[in-house]
Symmetry: C2
Subunit: 522 residues, 2 copies
């Protein structure tokens, strides 16, 4: 594929006008061709105009038609796997296996949403029949279900160039819901975005979808990113990235004349609690933990950045962790900004008097390399210094010694909202630490038992969300089928004849979906 | 019941300190005893402390236990019906029938939510079983469901002293979800609030619930209302009221370190489109329309404030409407503020050159009385002056002449988000105006066919919501069982043994609820 370095605005290409940039190979520091042209606000206007127009048509597509569209996107992505892998590794320093794995995950997500909307029950259709003779007032016939919100803006994630970028989970769930998607590319992997974007555009054409159902814009977050979130026709936003970046979008969205939801997945330290009984299995836990910590150079939002355990066995465990961590080699991070932030965070933690360094794989602070780092501190010191709980995005973790249930509960209570919270325990621990899990349930979107938080399964029951500041709105998830309702709203039809109702609500249930009729699930 | 004029803060009474006020009988203008003491920020702090403490216990209650609590509240309210009716009519000028009806609706809602949580399937439990042998990575066991958010603040609505106040729909859905509720009373009906609050408190004691599961605060919206929304332990807000009031709360909630959802139901003109075929039945429509317009002195958020029809038959229809409206008598509004706002809105519309007055039941502009008013204008004039679409809260409506499908679509497209949109049509009209309903579906939360928007049925399929500015967030509803998820978030348990899971997620399904297991609804 010849990369053109220009945005995809419906069926057209962008012509730039607001600067230009090139991707950089983080391993070599070399700039990659081609030049990418940055769009300005006119292109935002055009993409929104096309999306608004497309919404009128796309929202009326059946589940089957939308499913075919999603599967065609997946097929088109499969067809360019080699080009994706080559460009993605060059742009991100991610190894080939990860690139192929993430491509597989991306296509799996698209096909899972296709299955979901083809089957159709996700709309949560409910019917209450009329009772014309009810006294004192007759009861009307009411039918309701989820309907699409409108054009959705998706921001590509630096750390998921495929699975949370152009045709990733946010886009897949928005398309599945019936919403056009405008993607804002990430500056660190524009080529990967263009390859996937071209695949999506091919699927749009093959399936006869309106062109505005997809646009991909290159340009600055501060200009076109903000302009997209402000645009009156945009109805929701999907974002995975930094806390500052997410908050800026949330504030913009909240200040609109008609505020819109921003589904931002931001930061999390993903605490891992190791209870005394489980500590006896410390060798296996240490291995699993260091594997989770260093996976993908620690560049996962579910990276375990905090480990809490009691006194007994802790120093042996810390020794094992330190020894395993020291055996890992420094690796290249996604881009210079992430590497600098990592070195700064590690430096700040190192500088704290109350923190000791248990393992520190050195890497030149001026480079894009990151080595695993493990720190140690006490519960008292941790509780006295809130900044110890800040995320260090990368392969770094802080081990906190918290002896006894009360101290462990205090640490748990002190935590902000998290994507995940993990507990390693035996049956015996469960009795002694019965209150811990209840506390953690209030703090996290996903609780992990005797496992590790990385490796977010794409399945019906998955919740990748959690209370603020882990996300902007912890009520939903950005992974798995439950994510679809983020881009919908409820609509009720009262007193309508069958021929004016959506198929999902027609009396005889032609789609054969599960519905709640007069309060009873069928 | 002896009214004490003091807040209910858990099991204690407030001691005021931030001023005092009395309710006013809107019919006579007389002040009603007793004096109500306004609370300050210390009481907010105390109510939030109690609610936070209560949440830890209340969230662990089973569906059955919470159902008993809701039913006991309903029973306690039933037991004081006569006191409620006497005080409520004195405070609001609402007729006895309406007071009894609203009491019935309030208790019905509480019992409907009780049935919902006793049955239990509302939690949307999903289970994906582990596949330990899956290659290349084993699949973990994941289970998820809705869990309560935490303390919820509910603002009493001036126009629903029972059904959207102390133990109304917002409170019932929050309690049903597992959340403690702190209610901010409305200044115009504090006595009704105290009677109902006392009933709730009796139910709290009878059911052995933690005292902080309910508090009722008297005081100023600007001080304690804002303080409640800012409080870090408060997790969500329910509000029914003015656009300015709702927006102020939304802005406060969005500016928090951890923004929280504000479910605000604000303003709507509820357009009614009468298509040419249906116009032949204009006599029946005129009767239904004037009934809907003047119901409860027009003080419903679903009041039909806009009627759009073609040329043919319009003047005869307008004549019928005018004649029926003129036969209605002026009636007393809920309080002086509402009456003044109504007279001002009617005055502003009257002053427009492009608007004619079709019927105007005169009432002294300085009084609390309101008479029915019907205005007329053309589509062109309506489209040229956005302020014609502003809500006139009360029994006033604007009839717009829009000849032909294109013009009607233009009027529909020009509208802001609405709670409802109504179409009167025959089969013949449906072909000719096929695009109208699709446009209205994007504008409203509920579409009504050959009916009227007032009289919101409390049922499983009801949606009382709609795009901004009708509500702050049109994704949900404030009426009916679907409202419960407004006060929840998703939580996932990964790899947990049965004895650590909530009952809803235990493998053998001891509660017998409907669940999605490995993607299949059972």
């Amino acid at each position: 594929m010849d990369l053109q370095g220009r945005s995809l605005i419906g069926a057209a290409r962008g012509s730039g006008g607001a600067g230009e940039s090139k991707a950089v190979n983080p391993t070599t520091g070399e700039e990659l061709e081609p030049v990418y042209l940055s769009e300005g606000e006119e292109s935002v206007e055009e993409a929104c105009r096309l999306a608004t127009e497309a919404f009128l048509e796309y929202r009326e597509k059946s589940g089957k038609e939308k499913a075919t569209f999603l599967r065609t996107i997946a097929d088109e992505i499969d067809a360019v796997e080699e080009e994706i892998v080559a460009r993605m590794s060059a742009e991100t320093a991610l190894p080939e296996g990860r690139c192929r794995g993430e491509k597989g995950r991306t296509c799996f997500q698209l096909r899972l949403f296709a299955d979901l909307i083809e089957e159709g029950s996700w709309v949560d259709a409910r019917i209450d029949h009329a009772e014309p003779d009810r006294a004192p007032l007759s009861k009307p016939d009411c039918r309701s279900m989820w309907r699409p919100l409108g054009p959705v803006v998706v921001f590509c994630a630096s750390n998921f160039p495929l699975a949370y970028s152009v045709a990733g989970g946010d886009s897949a769930s928005a398309w599945a819901a019936g919403c056009p998607v405008i993607v804002k590319a990430h500056a660190s992997h524009p080529g990967t975005a263009e390859i996937v974007g071209t695949a999506v555009r091919a699927a749009v054409a093959k399936c006869g979808m309106p062109e505005g159902v997809f646009s991909l814009l290159f340009g600055s977050g501060r200009t076109i990113g903000q302009a997209l979130v402000k645009h009156p026709q945009v109805r929701a936003v999907g974002f995975t990235g930094s806390r500052a970046g997410g908050r800026a979008l949330m504030d913009t969205a909240a200040a609109r004349a008609e505020p819109i939801p921003v589904w931002a997945e931001m930061s999390s330290v993903n605490p891992v609690f190791i209870l005394p009984g489980a500590m006896k299995e410390r060798e296996a836990i240490a291995q699993g933990f260091v594997g989770s910590l260093t996976l993908g150079v620690g560049q996962f939002c579910t990276n375990p950045g905090l480990v809490i355990s009691g006194r007994e066995g802790r120093s042996a465990f810390a020794g094992q962790v330190a020894s395993l961590a020291s055996e890992t080699a420094p690796a290249t991070m996604l881009h210079k900004g992430i590497a600098s932030a990592y070195h700064a965070a590690v430096g700040a933690m190192t500088a704290k008097d109350a923190v000791e360094s248990l393992a520190h794989v050195e890497a030149d602070a001026g480079s894009r390399l990151a080595g695993a780092v493990v720190f140690g501190t006490s519960a008292d010191d941790f509780l006295a210094d809130q900044s110890m709980a800040d995320e260090m995005f990368g392969p770094a973790s802080l081990m906190v010694e918290a002896e006894g249930e009360e101290r462990m509960l205090a640490v748990a209570e002190s935590l902000e909202g998290q994507l995940t919270a993990t507990v390693h325990a035996t049956e015996e621990d469960r009795e002694q630490f019965s209150r811990l899990i209840a506390v953690l349930e209030r703090k996290a979107g996903r609780l992990v038992y005797n496992g590790f938080p990385t490796g977010v399964e794409v399945c019906h029951a998955m919740v990748h969300g959690g209370p603020a500041p882990a996300t902007s709105d912890g009520s939903s998830t950005s992974v798995g089928p439950r994510a679809i309702t983020r881009f919908t709203r409820l609509v009720c039809w009262q007193g309508f004849p069958d021929d004016l109702l959506p198929e999902e609500l027609v009396e005889e249930n032609p789609l054969g979906i599960s519905r709640i009729v007069d309060g009873v699930r069928g």
